[in-house]
Symmetry: C2
Subunit: 506 residues, 2 copies
């Protein structure tokens, strides 16, 4: 056995000669520097408009373009570098100034540096003991975010979670626990039939959360939205009353600040009045729109957010913090802890030598929790609040520019009237061939196919990327969003030219 172990050790410590191998320092520094050189070249290339956003290949092609299989035997360091290059070659350049496909775009250099540091520190968020600085920075940052929401002295609670869907699920969990604390021990069979309310334009994570939490998707009641995608408060109240008449218990309203497709802001003040009247937890899903709180010019769109019981706010979207970075902010202190703690004594020892209030792990659903705080904190240091504000204001200016450019342009139809409230600009492009079609159904059928074809061509040319989708009875339309700080007026002009170039024959 000792011989076998010896062979193992020799093998492990020599096949790559990297740390922790004895005298592995030099080899390690060289290797990591080679990787960094690859990354730096990729970064510079990503911002270059002459480069493709994507070198697209179909899945089966891509599977054959490199040897991606895992082997029993080790590879050489050269092979590792080749794998790194191949991976980046076929990656989407999410930093590219013409990448508009998602709500999260762009690549912030300070955020990236912070994420590299986070990986190097390689720790978990559960206790002060294993992440002293990160735990403090989470405390400082959450407090600041709560101040910005408008809660007195930044009081309250919160957590950085693995994305907006989980943040929303936390909110629903807290709302249920607040109303029926016995649900933690006794489950849903101990409580009456609960119902939640959210707009028909809200994010699918509300239903996903309800399914997971044992509430069921049928208990999520979809409230009508107006033409511009805002929840109609009168319909909310009507549906609450209707539910109560059926003997159901309304426990949760999720208002959306910045819907996924239209970028609409639900009227928070009116909603909060209703929530107060019927004693219902008010959640604001500001995953996309929450960042507008950083802008003196745009934060009025979230007026009333300070009345919410909980707020989801994803700095990885509009603030361009590297993925992932999502916060749930909670107005009531101590509730998260009571709702989620299980007192695992092997993790949260109560006889430690420091202030245990910093061991926040037990308020999470997770045990280990990824360090998502440092990139946000370091970017905030680098930009200051006013830097984030400028960045956000700029994206909104660009979307207004796009809106003004196409709203009366031939061949375009807006999906809803009026200036967008967020950076979402939703529109149809009508190729000349269908522009004057008289048969409305025929026209609709054709139009539905236009966006997917243009998008496929964009990806094949690799010049730009923008999202499209149908919504309700509206056929496929483009949803342009701007969260990429690298984008300029010229990139907006380019997008329109490109849509017309790729779509004129359709």
């Amino acid at each position: 056995n000792n011989v076998k172990l010896f062979i193992c050790l020799i093998f492990l410590h020599t096949f790559l000669h990297l740390l922790p191998a004895t005298d592995g320092d030099t080899k390690t520094m060289t290797f990591l520097q080679e990787v960094v050189d690859i990354l730096l070249a990729y970064i510079v290339e990503s911002f270059d408009r002459e480069t493709k956003v994507i070198d697209f290949h179909y899945p089966n092609e891509l599977l054959q373009m490199n040897n991606w299989e895992l082997q029993d035997e080790p590879a050489t360091l050269d092979d590792i570098l080749i794998s790194c290059r191949a991976t980046l070659k076929y990656a989407i350049k999410t930093a590219h100034p013409r990448y508009f496909n998602q709500l999260s775009t762009g690549l912030d250099m300070v955020g990236l540096a912070a994420d590299w540091l986070t990986s190097t520190a390689n720790t978990n968020m559960f206790t002060y003991e294993v992440a002293p600085v990160f735990v403090l920075l989470e405390y400082v940052t959450l407090k600041k975010m709560r101040e910005i929401i408008g809660w007195t002295d930044g009081r309250g609670d919160g957590i950085f979670s693995p994305g907006g869907a989980i943040s929303n699920m936390y909110a629903m969990l807290l709302a249920r626990f607040k109303m029926f604390p016995e649900v933690k021990e006794k489950g849903m069979s101990s409580v009456p039939r609960l119902v939640a309310f959210t707009s028909e334009h809200s994010h699918f994570s509300i239903k996903k959360g309800a399914a997971a939490l044992g509430i069921g998707t049928e208990s999520v009641i979809c409230i009508k939205a107006d033409e511009s995608g805002k929840l109609i408060p009168a319909d909310l109240e009507r549906r609450i009353l209707e539910a109560k008449q059926k003997g159901f218990v309304p426990f949760f309203v999720s208002a959306t600040a910045g819907t996924t497709v239209y970028g609409a802001f639900d009227p928070l003040i009116a909603i909060s009045d209703i929530c107060k009247k019927y004693n219902i937890w008010m959640h604001v899903d500001g995953a996309w729109g929450g960042s507008l709180l950083m802008s003196r010019r745009h934060r009025w769109k979230l007026d009333g957010v300070e009345r919410a019981n909980s707020v989801t706010w994803n700095p990885h979207k509009m603030m361009s913090v590297p993925l992932q970075c999502s916060a749930l902010l909670v107005r009531e202190e101590g509730l998260m802890q009571n709702c989620n703690q299980m007192h695992a004594c092997y993790l949260f020892q109560q006889d430690k030598h420091y202030d245990l209030s910093y061991d926040t792990g037990d308020k999470a659903l997770q045990c280990g929790r990824h360090v998502d705080i440092f990139k946000l904190w370091l970017m905030w240091r680098a930009k200051g609040t006013i830097g984030f504000e400028a960045q956000i204001d700029k994206c909104l200016e660009l979307s207004e520019y796009l809106y003004n450019k196409i709203k009366d342009r031939e061949g375009y139809e807006m999906v809803f009237d009026g200036k967008p409230q967020h950076t979402n600009v939703c529109f149809w492009y009508l190729p000349p061939g269908i522009r004057y079609m008289e048969d409305k159904e025929e026209r609709k059928k054709h139009l539905h196919k236009v966006a997917p074809v243009i998008k496929a061509r964009m990806m094949e040319y690799g010049t730009t990327m923008v999202s499209y989708q149908p919504q309700g009875d509206k056929v496929n339309f483009f949803r342009m969003v701007i969260s990429n700080p690298a984008a300029t007026f010229e990139d907006i002009d380019f997008l329109i030219e490109e849509i017309e170039r790729l779509g004129q024959d359709l």
Copy 2:
């Protein structure tokens, strides 16, 4: 407004002169290189036994040792570099050869490089469109892991989730949906009272999951474990029958492969026989012990895992993949999709131009999902399966060495008899002063305080870190675990010397 925008742009693009600022390339390369130099120095230092594992300060001290507050105004790049240095100065050196505090320790150089690349690629896992390579690599790696579990041709399903607690929660969610698919729409009120079973030594995430899913912690029935921490199958069967007699519906058994404290492996074959007999979903929580499947010498400890319906396996623990990297593997294909999908048409368009089976996002609870796959995949390439095996075997040899060293040594008592099955070695150190105390209660009371004091001293000296906890009626004991590939026999010797040095006066 245009003037304001102009000022914003000037401001944004010049205050740091980094990309995407025009001609920001050089400044960006210099800045990132400076950060990398800080990180490289930290890495080399982390592996140096002359360095402290931690430069410990109490929370209130640490808050005052640097300016951590967030400001309205931007900082300079120099200030950013200072913040990076300060953050690392007070961080735990998790790569340090004498850091034994958690199940996740060590820092793999290839894994780190891969994580830096992941941050640079800055994308999400939901669709092939936005993460073509990473989606394929997840597919390749999950298949390989399922082959290693022993499922025919690696068939089945799976996902990388934000940690073992969430992986376990997924398993419980799937088990419930499999038995009662209507629960997705109708919630828990549509199903009978469900009960889950797990050992009293299992991880607290099983109860946490049950609380979240609306099942309730009281419906998690804790099964007795034997002296060495293994679930007793006869007690499981007895409790299942008891629950059925009460009219409850047993739906989920979570066996543990590698318990958190003792490192015990539940007898999977016997448990699977019971699950089969009563038609209950069998989950194996192998967050900690699953990696032993990579070792020809140790994988017998998980015999029967191939009969499980689902398996949690965290490569970020025993395989030393950087945090976070947790997989849930599922035997039945298609179930995850059916259980979790919400068909959000704005994310998962059905008329895209490529094979949509690669758009796996809708089977997740999350919407955006962090890219956790690349570091595991690249490490696997670098080491090969045999490299992981050697690394794991070495850690187990080290723990056997520790066990042999202390089992008959004066001043030590083992918490349970026999050779540990995993790298967990649980023991009491008895300082000379209490070694011969006659009053058993008095001795116990004293002993309970020994580990916390030694641990606090370890942290203050910064020489090493190891965990301790009570368990049931057993007072505080040390739980040594070895997952750190940098550790050697000498480090084990050092740990024992250090415990004796710091504890002899107690």
